[in-house]
């Protein structure tokens, strides 16, 4: 017994050394950035429609497959594919909300929960049906290249991902603040009835918001695919993390989603060091449950 304990202590001590810790933190931050993009879509949808989109994970899986085939069949580099997939998935999301979710749930929260769940099940299993459960990856030439930042070597795709997320967040902020549609979205989020009375087509705005959230997911998929794998279950794994982030940061809060995502990314990275891959995930869920029970409004959000 004693021997094993001291061996564990020794490996724990080595894990804490800067050469391992710093890249872990940085990797966590960059993974967090991609989480942030997924969470952004989710928090946007919640902030405006006031529902938790249970289909978010399945949409991510679908987007990953789309990016995969864009590479395999069309030969598109993922970062180029994003330019194609984002509008495509925006339209898909728009259609989903406008023609399926909205009419089916008729505004009832519980029904919306169930409808998005139903859609999630359909999409996920349709992917399973079409593509089997095999895991696929793509091999882009720069997947394993790293950039030397002096204190650490960071993988190129991850760095690009990190930067892109902030660009997208900035773009979203610009849209929300300066465009008419953005103003309409904010109006509906704040006061739906008033917005309706002012002549805003709420169903259209809901659908636009859902579309934006789905587009975020599509971009996130393109950022993920160089270094991640693709199978129908991936979206599920991500969405639970995304939920955690959104709840932690506060439902409907964009800065909350960004900060929460970075935090979660780092936590996952570090607990992965100590506990191994799968148990690292537990850390996230425990935080999730803890936050829900103790402070459901999260760091920045309004009370649910």
């Amino acid at each position: 017994m004693r021997i094993i304990r001291s061996r564990r202590l020794r490996s724990a001590a080595s894990v804490l050394s800067p050469t391992i810790l710093v890249p872990a933190v940085l990797n966590g931050l960059m993974m967090g950035a991609v989480y942030a993009l997924v969470a952004l879509g989710l928090t946007l949808i919640y902030g405006v429609l006031h529902i938790i989109n249970f289909a978010h994970g399945a949409l991510l899986s679908a987007a990953l497959f789309a990016a995969f085939f864009a590479y395999r069949v069309l030969g598109l580099d993922p970062y180029i594919a994003a330019l194609l997939l984002a509008p495509l998935f925006f339209a898909f999301g728009y259609g989903l909300q406008r023609f399926v979710i909205g009419p089916a749930s008729r505004g009832d929260d519980r029904n919306m929960l169930l409808v998005t769940l139903g859609i999630a099940v359909i999409i996920e299993n349709a992917l399973l049906l079409a593509f089997r459960a095999d895991t696929r990856t793509i091999n882009v030439p720069y997947a394993f290249e790293t950039i030397n930042f002096g204190f650490a070597f960071l993988a190129v795709p991850r760095v690009i991902g990190f930067v892109t997320v902030f660009v997208v967040a900035l773009a979203l902020w610009l849209i929300m603040t300066f465009t008419d549609m953005g103003r309409a979205i904010r109006a509906v989020a704040k006061e739906k009835l008033g917005a309706e009375l002012a002549g805003i087509d709420v169903a259209h705005i809901y659908a636009m918001t859902f579309g934006l959230g789905t587009a975020c997911v599509a971009i996130a998929a393109c950022l993920l695919i160089p270094t991640y794998y693709v199978n129908p279950g991936v979206g599920n794994a991500f969405v639970l993390v995304a939920f955690t982030i959104v709840v932690l940061g506060g439902m409907g809060s964009v800065p909350g989603a960004l900060i929460g995502a970075m935090l979660i990314g780092v936590v996952e990275s570090i607990s992965g060091l100590f506990l191994g891959e799968s148990l690292g995930q537990i850390g996230i869920f425990v935080i999730f449950i803890f936050v829900l029970l103790v402070r459901p409004s999260g760091l920045f959000g309004a009370r649910a």
Partner: protein
């Protein structure tokens, strides 16, 4: 006692089935359908009558399955005791999760999320913990006999699960007519108004979750006895969370027979889909998802609710389908 006639009639008819049906495939199908009906009835108590939609009922199913399996395999506990222990574990888990989540006042989407999270945590723990066999799972030894709750004939298993389903029907029937049931439905309809009328909403919801956990755990215990193998994906996977909520919603939330009817319909649809297109993986779940969306869109009260709606139009009598009323003499 007279009001138990419908339940008695249904059970009698179902009990007679193995006397006429000998095909193992059909019996297997019915056994699974009844097991899902049982799991769904558990969900129905909390979701249908209580209005709290859990997306993680796998937590109770899996706990029932694992407790039964592990106690028998690792500790040599008798199968019947293991079964009871599994149910008790489900109840305890329901009480704990209920006490925690309802104390925080979580409702609606947040409640769905937290139940999902609990189920996921259990799944991950079960996939790595040595006691559950980690990734390999727990394999139970084949030992036929009543003492071990394992049988050679499918019919015997069928009658076991039918007994459990029958018990759940009777339990829910009595809940409907009890003060607890009236208060539970009131909480579902309007929690604040209910509280103003003296209903301790938190306590009622927690009790509902305890009962719900026990019933769904029983389904899990049965799974272990029937299939003799449990792993984390089977026990705590999203498939059972979805099927447990799907069957009451399709059959009729907040009704005694809803989950049973829903299970038979849903499973039949799944089998039908497989027959038509060949045994493709995931097709039945696609059908389930589509049916869920369609039911919510066009018949949110499920099949039984739809029947009541039709009856209402026909009879022009506006009686709610949730609680049976005795006639008021004017």
């Amino acid at each position: 006692m007279k009001e138990l006639t419908p339940i008695a009639a249904v059970l009698t008819v179902l009990a007679a089935v193995p006397l006429f049906v000998h095909s193992n495939t059909t019996l297997n199908f019915l056994v699974i359908a009844l097991m899902i009906a049982l799991a769904g009835q558990g969900w129905n108590v909390l979701g249908g009558y209580g209005g709290q939609y859990s997306f993680g009922h796998a937590a109770f199913f899996g706990t029932g399955a694992y407790v039964t399996a592990v106690l028998q395999v690792r500790y040599g506990i008798n199968a019947w005791l293991g079964f009871v222990a599994g149910i008790a574990a489900g109840a305890a888990l329901g009480g704990v999760i209920g006490a925690l989540t309802f104390r925080s006042g979580l409702r609606g989407s947040y409640f769905a999320l937290v139940t999902l999270a609990f189920a996921e945590v259990l799944r991950i723990v079960a996939s790595v913990a040595p006691i559950t066999g980690a990734g390999v799972g727990t394999l139970m030894t084949l030992e036929l006999g009543l003492h071990a709750l394992q049988f050679e004939s499918r019919a015997a298993f069928y009658w076991v699960i039918l007994t459990l389903v029958g018990a759940s029907l009777i339990i829910v029937h009595f809940i409907e007519r009890s003060r607890f049931g009236v208060w539970l439905v009131a909480v579902r309809e309007n929690e604040d108004a209910a509280q103003a009328l003296g209903v301790d909403a938190r306590k009622i919801k927690t009790i509902a979750m305890t009962i719900s956990g026990a019933i769904t755990a029983a389904a899990g215990c049965f799974y272990a006895q029937y299939f003799l193998f449990v792993d984390s994906g089977i026990a705590y996977g999203t498939w059972i969370s979805i099927e447990a909520l799907l069957t009451p919603i399709i059959g009729g939330v907040g009704t005694v027979f809803g989950p049973l009817l829903g299970a038979l319909v849903v499973k039949s649809l799944g089998e039908g889909a497989k027959l038509v297109t060949g045994d493709v993986p995931g097709l039945d779940l696609i059908v389930y998802g589509a049916v869920l969306v369609l039911v919510i869109a066009f018949a949110p009260r499920g099949l039984i609710g739809g029947l009541y709606q039709a009856g209402r139009y026909l009879r022009r009598l506006a009686v709610s389908p949730t609680i049976p009323l005795r006639k008021v003499r004017s």
